[in-house]
């Protein structure tokens, strides 16, 4: 497999570029933002984009560019952490259900079905209402929310691979169940899981924006894209750049990770 082969996939290239760009944007924000993101300047309320404020200012006179940079950290943090929670739990659950099968599979999967019966965002809203709003609880809620989809993917993979000859050969040689799961089957599952993680990442970012939009996610004054969208809403006519720029960055993030996921899947399918 060479680099040219990868570069021929348009979704992969565009998605990858978007993700890298946003990643750089976020990393820069860790060390440098043009203004302190929460600093207010009453004299400069709702200033349109200009030299001193590249992307304008919001209704408190805070620099929108700096806030979007800081918001990117929140978005990445939430994406990475919630996907990690979902992926880890989902993998374990899926592996157990898929590999061992039988009544254990039945019980686990019916439980997962019950979880999936709730629309994801409703489940997250319910969890946040119970545990209280805030960054940590949002991560937890979004992580729990993504467990069903990861465990389904993992389970189907394990069901498929456990019938393969190389697995049967290992069983014949006396390998234990966990050795087979981790050493023999898991490496084959990396590609579909990366695809799922990438899609799950964009889903989490979008869900966090939704929660924050409703006032349940990240608490003000800390910036979050969803919060910024909801705060920008009253000024949609009088200061359109606020909502447009925030929306564009959020869309780029979601689009980037979706395309990346699609691209990886295409290559994986062709190869398979």
């Amino acid at each position: 497999m060479n680099v040219n082969y990868w570069l021929r996939s348009k979704p992969l290239v565009i998605g990858g570029l978007l993700v890298i760009l946003l990643l750089l944007f976020m990393l820069t924000g860790l060390f440098y933002t043009p203004y302190e993101p929460n600093e207010m300047n009453t004299a400069m309320r709702l200033a349109p984009p200009q030299a001193s404020h590249l992307w304008g200012t919001d209704n408190f006179g805070r620099d929108i560019f700096s806030r979007i940079m800081e918001g990117a950290q929140t978005a990445f943090l939430i994406g990475v952490s919630s996907v990690s929670i979902g992926l880890t739990c989902g993998l374990v659950i899926g592996a157990v259900a898929g590999y061992f099968g039988g009544w254990l599979d039945e019980v686990i999967m019916r439980f997962i079905d019950a979880m999936q019966a709730f629309p994801g965002i409703l489940l997250a809203i319910m969890l946040v209402s119970v545990f209280g709003p805030g960054l940590n609880n949002t991560i937890l809620a979004l992580g729990l929310m993504s467990i069903p989809s990861f465990s389904r993917i993992a389970r189907s993979g394990f069901i498929q691979y456990k019938e393969f000859d190389f697995v049967k050969a290992s069983i014949a040689k006396g390998a234990g169940a966990w050795r087979i799961i981790i050493r023999h089957i898991l490496p084959n599952m990396v590609s579909p899981l990366i695809v799922a993680a990438s899609l799950g990442f964009s889903g989490s970012v979008l869900a966090e924006a939704g929660l924050s939009y409703l006032g349940l996610g990240v608490q003000p004054p800390d910036p979050s894209w969803g919060r910024m969208l909801s705060e920008a809403q009253p000024f949609i006519i009088n200061a359109p750049w606020y909502v447009i720029l925030t929306g564009v960055v959020l869309t780029a993030m979601v689009l980037g990770f979706n395309l990346l996921g699609d691209g990886i899947r295409d290559i994986y399918n062709k190869k398979g």
Binding site: N38, E39, M40, T42, R45, N59, F60, G61, P119, I121, G132, P133, L206, A207, A209, G210, L211, Y213, L214, G215, L216, Q219, P220, P221, G226, L229, S230, Q233, P234, F235, I236, I237, N238, P240, V243, I244, T246, G247, V248, L250, T251, V254
Partner: protein, 526 residues
């Protein structure tokens, strides 16, 4: 320009779609279409421009869900301002805060100030057709004052000793002691005797009848054709309160013609509406404050509270959050209450970071402390204020975090049980200064500031029995000064109220209390 704005709005909508499509599109409640369009189609002629049109339906947005339809069990101002059209009391609030006789024809106060005699109007009927007599007044007041052996429902009636009804149209009320605030308490609703379904199907004697309440959607009133006061007879047929928690969606709904009136529109919203709408603006006798729980550490130290006051710059808040539409306050009284307002207190804590830091050092909090500001999430105005304040507090080393909670949890946790550190809220205007300042009495049940000061209690008690108006006003002024000196809370501003209406909707009057008198409103021919 018009084309441009539309285009811009369209683009923004597209970017917002990313969020809305996943099903978390906020709480933009779309009013369900009703069969009753405002009657501007069937009208005959279009000759006279400002001709009053009889009938019609007015659709009004309201931000919060009613808490209880029973006037005695409801605490929320929005609910009260809707249901005030259904209920009448012995008096009604007038435009300048005066008391206008409603169900009462005339009244007399005895020389010692202990006996009040009310003569009721003839021919007053409730919405169920039964006549309103002194028996109903007795029943209502007995409930409020707890004379029926139950828990008294209103602290304003705690001074009532007995209610006598010598005949059908006379009510004699005897007080335990002199109470200068008692007369203003008589705006309380009069309800029919032995009717216990007020929470489901309220019945009063007001200009409008209650029709239905659909949670999350609307509350509907219709004209009471048997209303006793022919001069105040409503011209509108129907009032529909559409529940719209989101201020922006109510502005958009007004623009789209789905509603006719938005009673609380922001300065940005007014800007967005542009021409073609009537916007009435004025002080609303509200006290927006950051209440501090005086019983929790470190807020139990007056120096800490004073430091917080010195750290907050009210002018910045007014400019930022309210677009300059507000009056800075220094104590718990709006200048709209001319007679009782103590001037000059708003400058007591001129912003001074150094002094604030010094006070914190004296109190032993040199390195500052953590403070949680609980805000009701449905009031963007208060949430925005909290953001500005948390930024200002940072300068003196106080690390404030915001916690948004739902309105009903706010009422339960903060207002009823005082489980909070700091909160931002607007206290709505009352007609009587006792109701405004009595909130800080240590014996007041909803004293959620947990302020307890015997000197203050003494002043309020004295003012309650003082029948001389000037002397009484003076006592209230002293009480305000004490609140400021003790820095019980950060008194921020009285934000102006902006009411937006369609141009053909007329007759709206501004009151020092949040009151929407739909009996006085009407549509004009276009």
């Amino acid at each position: 320009m018009k084309w441009n704005k539309k285009w811009v709005a369209g683009l923004s909508t597209v970017t917002l779609l990313a969020i809305i499509i996943t099903g978390c599109g906020g709480n933009a409640t779309q009013p369900a279409p009703t069969g009753n369009q405002p009657a501007n189609t069937g009208a005959a002629t279009e000759t006279e421009q400002t001709k009053i049109k009889e009938g019609g339906t007015v659709r009004v947005s309201i931000a919060t869900e009613p808490d209880n339809l029973d006037p005695y069990l409801s605490a929320a101002t929005d609910t009260n301002s809707m249901m005030d059209n259904v209920f009448d009391g012995l008096f009604e609030a007038g435009e300048n805060g005066e008391l206008v006789p409603a169900i009462t024809e005339s009244y007399e106060v005895s020389e010692d100030g202990l006996t009040y005699t009310f003569k009721l109007k003839q021919g007053v009927v409730f919405h169920d057709g039964s006549a309103l007599t002194s028996e109903d007044v007795y029943y209502s007041y007995a409930k409020l004052a707890g004379l029926d052996g139950q828990e008294p429902l209103s602290s304003k009636f705690s001074g009532v000793d007995s209610v006598e009804t010598p005949d059908e149209h006379t009510v004699i009320i005897k007080l335990k002691g002199q109470d200068a605030a008692f007369l203003a308490a008589n705006i309380a609703a009069i309800v029919p005797k032995d009717y216990d379904k007020q929470s489901e199907q309220p019945i009063g004697a007001g200009p409008f009848k209650f029709v239905e309440y659909q949670p999350g959607q609307q509350l509907v009133l219709e004209k009471n054709a048997d209303f006793y006061d022919k001069e105040r007879m409503p011209k509108l047929d129907r009032v529909e309160f559409k529940i719209m928690p989101d201020a922006n969606s109510s502005v958009l709904a007004l623009q789209a013609g789905d509603i006719d009136m938005v009673p609380g529109v922001s300065a940005q919203g007014a800007l967005q509406l542009g021409e073609g709408y009537t916007i009435v603006s004025g002080p609303q006798n509200m006290v927006q404050l950051m209440a501090l729980n005086n019983s929790v550490k470190p807020l139990d130290d007056v120096k800490v509270r004073q430091a917080i006051n010195l750290a907050v710059d009210k002018d910045v808040i007014i400019q930022t959050v309210s677009d300059g539409n507000g009056t800075p306050l220094g104590s718990n009284m709006s200048p709209a209450m001319k007679m009782y307002y103590q001037e000059g207190l708003e400058n007591r804590y001129a912003p001074n970071v150094e002094q604030a830091k010094a006070l914190l050092k004296e109190a032993g909090y040199e390195d500052g402390f953590d403070l949680t500001i609980t805000v009701p999430s449905n009031y963007q105005f208060h949430v925005d204020t909290a953001q500005v304040i948390s930024e200002q507090l940072k300068q003196v080393g106080i690390r404030a975090t915001l916690k948004q909670i739902e309105w009903s949890s706010w009422l339960e946790d903060v207002y009823n049980n005082a489980k909070y550190e700091a909160t931002i809220i607007g206290l709505t205007g009352k007609l009587d200064p006792h109701e405004v300042l009595g909130r800080y009495e240590s014996s007041y049940a909803k004293n959620f500031y947990k302020f307890s000061n015997s000197e203050f209690d003494g002043l309020i008690e004295k003012a309650r029995t003082e029948l001389d108006e000037t002397a009484r006003a003076d006592l209230y002024k002293q009480a305000q000064e004490l609140l400021t000196e003790q820095a019980v809370a950060v008194f921020i501003m009285d934000p102006s109220r902006n009411v937006a209406m369609k141009q053909n909707l007329q007759g709206f009057k501004m009151y020092p209390v949040q009151k929407y008198d739909f009996a006085a409103m009407y549509f004009t021919e276009e």
